[in-house]
């Protein structure tokens, strides 16, 4: 790719991203009522839990494995996951988050547990 093409690729990628983010901001009230009727509005409350689980889970559960491995099955994922420092730290951090509701506390506890387990050779 030439220097100009690199700029073009970044600029277009930025425009596409902005367009995706802004589309629903520009809808008129009537258009938005048509596109997003009450049942859809209710469903959209679940975007945050679904999306954030989908972002984090692959990097917490069996973080080292690949779905193209021949050994990729439920049992091997489970066996690999329960002894993984990432998973254990994530589990502890989630409990902390659930009990305290404080993200900074959750992050510090999670990272400390993770590093301690790594230091212990997990």
């Amino acid at each position: 790719m030439s220097g100009a093409a690199v700029w073009l690729a970044f600029a277009l990628a930025g425009l596409v991203t902005f367009a995706q983010r802004s589309l629903f901001f520009w809808l008129s009230e009537s258009a938005s009522d048509r596109l997003l009727p009450p049942p859809v509005q209710r469903a959209l409350r679940y975007v945050a839990p679904a999306a954030f689980a989908a972002i984090s889970a692959p990097r917490v559960i069996a973080a080292g494995s690949s779905s193209s491995d021949t050994s990729f099955n439920l049992l091997s994922i489970l066996a690999e996951t329960v002894v993984d420092a990432r998973f254990v730290a994530a589990l502890v951090a989630s409990l902390v988050m659930w009990r305290t509701g404080k993200l900074p506390v959750m992050l510090v506890v999670g990272m400390v547990v993770f590093w301690v387990l790594r230091a212990l050779g997990m």
Partner: protein, 259 residues
Amino acid sequence: MVESIDSPLKPNLQWAGVAAGAKAAIPLAVPALPIGILIGVAIGESVVIDNLAGWTSSFMIFAGAAQFAAVELIDGGAGVWAVVAAVFMINARHLMYGAAICGRFSDAPVWFKFVGSYFLIDQVFALNVNLDLDIEPVDTDDRLGYRMSHYIGTGAPMLGVWVVGVVLGLVVGDVIPAEWEVDFAIPLMFLGLMVMSLFNVSSVVAAVLGGTVAVIGRDWPNGMGLLIGAVAGVAAAALVDQLLDSQLENRPKADGASA
């Protein structure tokens, strides 16, 4: 410009809102810094991407995963359209974010719709979509103004940290040893945001299914596992809602439906 300037409906930015937003964003901005540095290092090592173009892409794209993919694709010799298509797929979840959050800003001025769209990253969505629940003060008569202020207060530090992180990666290079695995802070942060967003049985179903599909689809191209996982989670939760509703209807009235 039909509305008069002193209309009572004109939302005003409020420092309290900006400050509350910034305060909420700090724990999310800290883990973003090392990731910005990593992208800066990747840009610095690329012979195809010059540093200025790479750094500029931080605020042109303003989405970590998509920017990383764009840098790697360009570096690997992909064409312009391949890059754009990949970024489109990786960022498609933002359409859902926009749909979920736009109702809170339907009366916002045009300038805010530009700024709000630009700032709609994962973290800003997380911190603003449920604002009513616990953060938004009830005693302000300009709720829209407060929402806008809070939104900007969360978005601006994220952008600042991101842009600075990429510069650090470019200029200083690999300062953080890879064996520290500081990048684990990112999934940890999203896990925390997920726990924060759980509010009923259906939301748990959304998270479990979204996470499961994303694990199964971790190697699908262009972040498809993430996108399909998120959509499947939302759909399943809506379905569970319907099932619970119909169960409630079939039962004699005991109490009002809980929100």
